[in-house]
Symmetry: D3
Subunit: 235 residues, 6 copies
């Protein structure tokens, strides 16, 4: 993702990205579960670094496991690159925490851009106090080993019901979290900017009393009117 | 719905309507899914204008469909009468938007009273910025054609798990959304007012230390005491 | 629960209790469904007084039932001891209310510590206005008899997916609600205090740039460092 | 339940009972989950003896509990009266067994009429080999203490999503399991017989080519024709 | 659907149709819920005639409604054309019947090809005794008005989670039920035949010990080998 | 797994394994979803070879992917060792097939012991005709790429809600599928044999009229009686 693409994707909304992906035939990319939890909301864009859990099994999921040097969920906290977004497959379980405030603190210190998960956060208020962007299911007291066992790092995962491949672009704002296949990021950013420019025009006209049909989406007359509006520099 | 009934239904709460309907043997009328989303909450009463979606199918659910003049979801935006409530069967899918900010703007301009749906809203913050009453599932980035196909207009629908017949009375407040069968609206409004008057009396007594049994619901002694209280004009 | 245990349990968090129970092999104690609903949040600790509902049946679930002197849900409101927490098995139905504002008022007058349920609250805003701690599923207009029938009082119940035995200790805060088996309360309180002391040390070090492995959970070096930190009175 | 009512209820089908209850305003009585498991199917009628489970908790749900003399699930096996139907609230969990083949054997030896549960059966093939009527969710290897803890006996329960009060009449056949409130059993049996007699007439006519409207449900002409048919002894 | 297309679609399997539709970018067409219920299984192909239910409401869903001449579910039984398949939106509720044995008898007499629904069947054994093809959720005692209210006829519906437009082609066999958009039926039938011919070749080779890669799907060598096999008339 | 352990595990039932694991504190090992599909049932024991799917994404899940030499689901078919059990994480989706008849044929030819998945099978009847042991969710027409994308091979997975580590022992019979952590297999096999021997004794006594308490689980008297019974060679 080059700087221009990053800037474009930071400018446009998740809703716009969703429409651009749909226009390319890609529907199954919006996560169900992760919600914007910071106040005020903290939008993020970045490359996915993935962590995966599997179901709890009593012999695999003990507090002692947390101290093992190769315990994937702890390795992830140290290895997710600065600027990346840590995406955790929390198995769609809002009632089990995938991290707590100490790990959030560490992610922040290390320069990670944000956290996305369909799991919960423990020590929820302290997590939010860190001013670190979190898109997750909400508060949940039980530590990960209460309900999960370690899976692995940097493999294809499911999060919020959609596929995430390491390196995919994650974009999150008040409408939720979406995954942009890496190969499409540049096009989505460019065309999304233009989509939003037109939508500002359309919304202006609608607020002035214009019916929606013909203007959104635009027919030929609306396209001409929009071109004139752009030309006139009224934007 | 005459003016008096409307005024009564605006005064009483959804909880009161629920009890009045239960007293008439009607239980399955409270929607599950739609939540009050405005801050502060904006209660509404009005007649239902209905729109229905069916499941997405790739040949039926494309961005191009949005431009077709008979695409029901767009027709609904132009046809829902001023003063009505647009009720959208979003198939219980909080993760798919049924409208976004441009359509909300149009509904507001046209004088529609409010929107009720078990689906989501895209461009969520802009939707709320319109100060237009919305009772829906919350934010969702994907446009309707990402997960739905067009159904039809002004037919009986399911919304939030309950039946809505065009013309039914919709009442929504902080407790949620309830459907009042049209034929019952007058009685519900009248008897609900009286129910709430008694409950103010009962709550006053309870706050003064009276046990709940006997006073809520009232036995004969409590009824007499209430009559005296009304007589005395202490309300 | 003696005063010291109570004080300890009031000091520590639900997340800490969860970890202490996990260390004793007990995982299935965190409720799914009840959420902290007061603003600001009102944490509670107390002994459980239990009430149970069963599914609605039209002959068992009528408004008239509310007036019967042995109707368990109303008896509970009068019998839950001062200082106890009323825990209501709402059958995991967020859409049916287990109490409304008048009953909340009565619980408050009677000195009950708080309410926990996986069901909803009707007259939601008035419930919150009472400044009485409620951990429940959120607003729901339908009264209990719309969707439930009376079960019984002070028997083992399910709430939020976990077992609650009358007399168990309930602890609730911003992370949710947890059940502490009575026999374990003293140990959990004592060891939880120490756990949180260590975690303050660990978080301090992490905020200073220390990697998580080795310090959380602590290896021998970290334990020694922590002992010195305690000794030095830096806490 | 007198002998005549029992005979009537044995003759009519669960579908007929369902319609008769609906005619009396009672809808929520058909269980979801329990299925007829014997081959050939073994229909049953009898009074409910109830057993209830609550969620597993590791300190309450151990193999050792099975040996305690007051462990309710084992007491139930010895106490359910001959001729009764043991109805077990298995918490809607098809994946946890509520009984296995040894307990089924004991129920059969003791003369219990049958077993109904929304939970599973372990040693499934051996259970079926006993030729004892079971209406449950299907096979499930884990013993009850793997996923449940003991609740209590002969209290109101939920089974398959509906209320069961001890002493209610249970009727089960190939269409599933239904609960008949005790007070209604006699009327349901009597009117159900007549309903089925008419339906045999209606089906005969339909098989002869008659359209459904007018004959099912019957209009006045069809009622007269039916009366003549009865008179003629063609049944 | 001309005779050749019908013959082709009768020859190929639902699994083949699913792959042909996927190759055209159409994924969301296989129903979840309807199962083949006849023994032996009775495959069907035909045009969809649709019926829709909405949620039960006590004032709309009474036994008396069944006698009203415009009650859509009964009209459907008389109006579904001979040779069509009656597809009923049972709202994904396996526990509520959409038809019983008398209506099945009438559908058979009238020459309807079969019934598809995500709802249940009452008088289940009698339904099966009619030797009329049914793909539905299984047995369910409660009549439709116990849990549904009438929707309408011949409108776009949801069934088993997928869209069905009146006139779409329904194909059902042991793998379940699939919807073929009308415009694609001819192509699907033609290409599906060829797909199955190749798969017979591939399976033969695999049964002779050939590894799957290269032969399924075929590389160029396998295609050539297949062409020779066809040429040689070994099929 | 040595020959004796294998023999023991083949002799005992899944229900017995479940109890033996529970006695060691391990509860979360029984799969929910996979069912015995062969008639007659074909029990299996073997080491797990794992395959994982992630959610479908339109750019990752195309028919063309099936031809890529590194497409994990096809590699698995060629790489799962003779004598192993292929365990496929089908994401708990019974409506999407994880394999069809051609791949089943190949697994059989290669000497794989059986297939376990929480997903479905396409060409269901042909799959069963192969007489190859399958424990899966049932028939499902859509090919894997209709609803899944490729994950990876031989990593820890979730299947039927439980953790499976490559090399874990899988045991499946009429009660379902259970996972035995490799380190425990020997002990489980040995102690399970003894458990079943006692249960034969207990069931014999129960069939002779003995109450369950005291004998199952056994008190000291029952243990002595059992010892005598063994001694006497009455087994």
């Amino acid at each position: 993702m080059n700087d221009k693409t990053r800037a474009n994707l930071e400018t446009i909304s998740v809703a716009t990205v969703s429409m651009q992906l749909l226009k390319r035939g890609i529907r199954n990319v919006s996560m169900v579960g992760p919600k914007p939890l910071n106040t005020p909301m903290m939008p993020i864009v970045g490359e996915a670094y993935t962590l995966r859990y599997i179901p709890m099994r009593e012999d695999l999921s003990t507090p002692e496991m947390l101290a093992k040097p190769d315990f994937a969920p702890r390795v992830a906290i140290e290895e997710a690159p600065s600027g990346s977004i840590l995406v955790i497959d929390g198995r769609g379980r809002p009632d089990i925490a995938v991290v707590g405030d100490i790990l959030i603190e560490r992610l922040k210190v290390r320069g990670v851009t944000g956290l996305v998960s369909d799991g919960g956060l423990r020590d929820f208020d302290e997590c939010l106090a860190a001013d670190f962007p979190v898109f997750a299911a909400g508060p949940a007291a039980p530590a990960s080993v209460t309900g999960h066992a370690a899976g692995d790092l940097q493999t294809p995962i499911s999060c919020g019901g959609v596929a995430v491949i390491p390196g995919d672009i994650i974009k999150a704002d008040g409408d939720g979290v979406i995954v942009i296949p890496k190969a499409l990021a540049e096009d989505i950013g460019r065309d999304g900017l233009e989509q939003e420019r037109y939508e500002r025009f359309a919304k202006l006209r609608v607020s002035q009393g214009r019916p929606v049909p013909g203007i959104y989406p635009p027919n030929d007359a609306a396209k001409a009117e929009y071109a004139a509006w752009l030309e006139a520099g009224e934007e």
